[in-house]
């Protein structure tokens, strides 16, 4: 379990991510989930997050091409 100080900092981090056009809302949700499940420190889980971000962009490209 994160310490209360860590928790404060994580919450501020999520706040700072919100509302930026460079980051998709689904990415923020995914990273919040990682935090809740205690997996945010795990590099492999973050790599999976990256792969899902990439998958979103591939999907966007396919949609734009149609």
């Amino acid at each position: 379990m994160s310490s209360q100080v860590s928790e404060l900092i994580y919450n501020k981090f999520f706040e700072n991510l919100l509302g930026n056009k460079d980051i998709k809302p689904e990415t923020i949700e995914a990273i919040k989930e990682l935090y809740k499940s205690g997996k945010i420190i795990n590099k492999n889980e973050l790599i999976k997050l990256c792969q899902s971000i990439e998958a979103h962009y591939v999907k966007d490209q396919a949609t734009n091409c149609q």
Binding site: Q4, S6, F13, N16, T27, I41, L46, L49, I53
Partner: protein
């Protein structure tokens, strides 16, 4: 604020089964290193968090493996706590989720998510750390070390994604460069590229492409427009035949390259005696072998006269040895004949091969000149099939003069010319070459175009992903930096206040913690000292001062974040702070945190005594339990005793006739006292790696420092020092299993005790009961009560 009523520890770390009945009191546990004191602190941490932090994050060590007692089953491990509040209790069993009663939930949540334990290791790591790792140590103290792990993982993922993008860019740039070389265009839009490739095709006098999809069809048209595949195959065959004919040409040198054979044969046949000796040598070798192998031969096989075997054999060997050079010459000729035959046969094989291929692809070539040369070679080969002595070869000059030889090689040259002429008919024309260039251009352009069409969308998605993950990483780092700095700023006032409590009027002020923006996870601690502004505290602080700075950071954190949580644990953290400052540590702990339930462990007997004295003097003794661990065994764990001052124990042991136990206790008392006095008087003691000092290590440096600083006082007290040296021998006898120890009387042990007591009284003020401290700047040694007690001016 609910305090602990009872702590029950089962099969955990060094404890088998212990119950500390506290009734909300604080507790001080005194014990030597390795007697299980810290197990109780670990137990409280494990109860709240399910882990022991100092067992985590180190390879091969973990709470799971190393928290249970090593002789117990994990399932027998448990920590139970009864709280004062409504007699509520909860227990954590190994690997089980803890069930918390409703009334304890808030306390438990707080305990599981905050830092309330300061260990000696935290302080040592903090003091010695460089800025980057100092942050890590502070992060561990304030409980944000997990953020570092997240930052590190995010950074690695960002770096890896960035590398992927860079690699893709490199491949794309390479392909674009290839396109630039091919068609002078690096733009990858289909339309522009088609224009560029058609411009090139026009230069090669080829028809333009209508689209990229028609490229393969165009390639086929170009191929079928030139020579047929059969022509190309025939061209290859002709080239092969030319190569073989060139090999045949080398046959002209056959005799010249084997001139050595003719030279050797010439040497042999230059003298008829040599030829005869060859034959004779063979007869002698055969005779020697015959007589040597068959013992029953009694007569010479040639002349049939009786022989003397041994003498004859020796004579034969001698004669064979004399003929050895001519025998070796004969052997050389045989080897050279073999070489000649090989080369000659290869030439004949090549000729036959040329004839065969020529028959297939060139009709009616006249090979009779070459056949003539073949006859000459075969004739010579036939002549070489005899023994060297019988070999009769024509001279080289005669052979070379044969007209068949130049005829053969004239014919070979004509054959090569004829084949090359035939092949020239099949070589590509200028038009063919342009067509081939066009095919190559179209093929390579298509390849690059295809690669770029595949890579560009991938590069775009990777770039977008990289941008997003970089933003996440940067946001995390910035948030962490700003928030950690905010926390530092919040703690700063308390750190300064607490540090001033510990070190009033010592010239320290302005303690500041700063996140170093230039570096990842880096914190710098700065403080003012007299006229030096904002410097690294290590520059002018003793280890004790740095210890107390770490303690202040921890306590400031507790003050800010642990509101409502009563437990504070200090696991062996005050040992390097000198006597005068320890009083102030007590002022800080009990003055600034009056409502806390303290768990304090120490191996430092003197500090323990001072703590007790402070508690009694300030009316706090009733709020503390004093426990002493006398010994520890793996099977039984720590053995507790109600604390008694060591001099009381010594007196009891002497009274009971326990001279061994009494002397051991006196010696321990002396060692603890000497260590304290060495610190207080700043005596120079050679550092020991294990940090364990005997009385012998400490005594002489202390006395020497005392004599140096206050020689007049030393002279006055010299008898006390002499007396200790004289009686010290009993301590040695009784504590080192010396066989003579049994002869020592209890009176002699009492004398040893008196000597130690008198020695201690030299340094302890009879008024305030505190130890004298050396103040270098003021050039004095004094006790806490100053004028009324000890005050010696030093000879600096």
């Amino acid at each position: 604020m609910s305090k602990i009523k009872r702590l029950i520890v089962n099969n955990f770390r060094g404890v088998i089964q212990e119950s500390l009945d506290l009734d909300g009191s604080s507790v001080v546990i005194l014990g030597e290193n390795g007697t299980g004191k810290s197990s109780f602190i670990d137990a409280i941490e494990y109860y709240f968090t399910g882990k022991v932090s100092h067992l985590e994050g180190v390879q091969s060590i973990s709470t799971t493996k190393h928290a249970p007692h090593i002789l117990a089953d994990k399932n027998q491990t448990s920590i139970a706590i009864d709280f004062m509040k409504s007699n509520l209790s909860a227990a954590r069993k190994f690997n089980d989720a803890i069930e918390i009663p409703e009334g304890l939930k808030e306390l438990h949540t707080q305990g599981s998510s905050t830092t309330f334990i300061l260990r000696r290791k935290n302080l040592l790591d903090f003091i010695l750390a460089q800025p980057a790792s100092k942050y890590e140590q502070l992060a561990a103290i304030i409980g944000v070390d997990e953020l570092d792990k997240t930052e590190r993982s995010l950074m690695q993922v960002q770096d890896e994604t960035g590398s992927e993008v860079e690699n893709l860019i490199a491949v794309v740039e390479t392909e674009k460069a290839k396109l630039g070389d091919l068609i002078g265009k690096t733009d990858f839009s289909d339309k522009d590229m088609l224009v560029a490739i058609n411009k090139k095709l026009q230069e090669l006098q080829q028809k333009p492409l209508e689209s990229f999809s028609s490229a393969n069809e165009r390639k086929l048209q170009i191929v079928t427009g030139g020579h047929s595949p059969a022509d190309l195959a025939r061209s290859v065959q002709l080239q092969n035949l030319i190569t073989q004919c060139q090999e045949l040409s080398k046959g002209a040198d056959l005799f010249e390259t084997n001139k050595f054979l003719w030279d050797l044969v010439g040497q042999l046949h230059s003298d008829i005696k040599k030829v005869r000796d060859v034959l004779f040598g063979e007869v002698l070798k055969s005779s020697s072998r015959l007589i040597g192998q068959y013992n029953d031969i009694e007569n010479c096989p040639v002349c049939l006269q009786p022989i003397k075997r041994q003498e004859l054999l020796e004579a034969l060997e001698k004669r064979v040895a004399n003929l050895q050079p001519i025998v070796e010459l004969s052997e050389k000729i045989k080897k050279q004949i073999a070489v000649f035959k090989d080369v000659a046969k290869n030439w004949i094989d090549t000729l036959n091969n040329v004839k065969k291929i020529s028959k297939e692809i060139i009709v009616n070539w006249d090979f009779s000149p070459l056949d003539g040369y073949q006859d000459i070679i075969e004739g010579i080969i036939a002549k070489t099939s005899v023994e060297p002595a019988d070999l009769q070869l024509d001279s080289l000059e005669k052979i070379k003069a044969l007209p068949a030889i130049p005829a053969a090689f004239k014919s070979t040259k004509e054959l090569i010319d004829a084949i090359q002429k035939e092949k020239a008919k099949l070589d590509p024309t200028e038009e063919d070459k342009k067509a081939l260039q066009a095919i190559d251009l179209i093929t390579r352009t298509l390849d690059s175009h295809q690669t770029l069409s595949t890579l560009n969308p991938i590069l775009n998605t990777k770039r977008s992903t990289f941008k997003e993950i970089s933003f996440i990483y940067e946001t995390f780092v910035n948030t962490k930096r700003i928030e950690v700095q905010r926390i530092y700023s919040e703690l700063q006032d308390n750190i300064r206040e607490f540090f001033t409590v510990l070190h009033p009027n010592e010239g320290y002020k302005g303690v500041r913690l700063e996140v170093n923006e230039g570096k990842r996870a880096s914190t710098e601690i700065k403080m003012d000292f007299h006229n030096r502004i904002q410097e690294d505290p290590r520059a002018f602080n003793s280890e004790g001062h740095l210890d107390s700075l770490g303690l202040c950071v921890f306590l400031a954190f507790v003050k800010r974040f642990n509101v409502g949580f009563p437990i504070i644990a200090l696991d062996d953290v005050v040992s390097s702070i000198d006597s005068g400052h320890r009083q102030r540590v007590c002022d800080l702990l009990f003055g600034k945190f009056p409502d806390a339930q303290w768990f304090i462990t120490t191996h430092d007997y003197v500090w323990h005594e001072e703590l007790r004295a402070y508690l009694i003097a300030h009316g706090l003794a009733a709020q503390f339990k004093n426990l002493q661990i006398l010994s520890w065994t793996l099977e039984e764990g720590p053995k507790f005793n109600i604390y008694k001052p060591r001099w009381v124990l010594i007196a009891e042991k002497i009274g009971g006739g326990d001279k061994d136990g009494a002397a051991a206790s006196i010696r321990k008392e002396l060692e603890a006292f000497l260590l304290e006095a060495v610190i207080s008087l700043q005596a120079r003691v050679p550092i020991k790696r294990d940090g364990r000092y005997t009385a012998g290590d400490l005594h002489d440096p202390l006395v020497s420092q005392f004599n140096k600083k206050v020689p007049a006082v030393f002279k006055e007290k010299e008898e006390v020092f002499t007396n200790l040296r004289k009686n010290g021998i009993f301590g040695n006898l009784l504590t080192h299993n010396n066989p003579q120890a049994g002869n020592t009387s209890i009176e002699e042990v009492r004398g040893f005790a008196d000597a130690v007591s008198q020695f201690e009284n030299v340094f302890i003020c009879p008024v305030c009961n505190t130890m004298a401290i050396y103040y270098q700047d003021a050039k004095i040694i004094r006790c806490k009560c100053k004028e009324k007690g000890i005050l010696w001016v030093t000879k600096d």
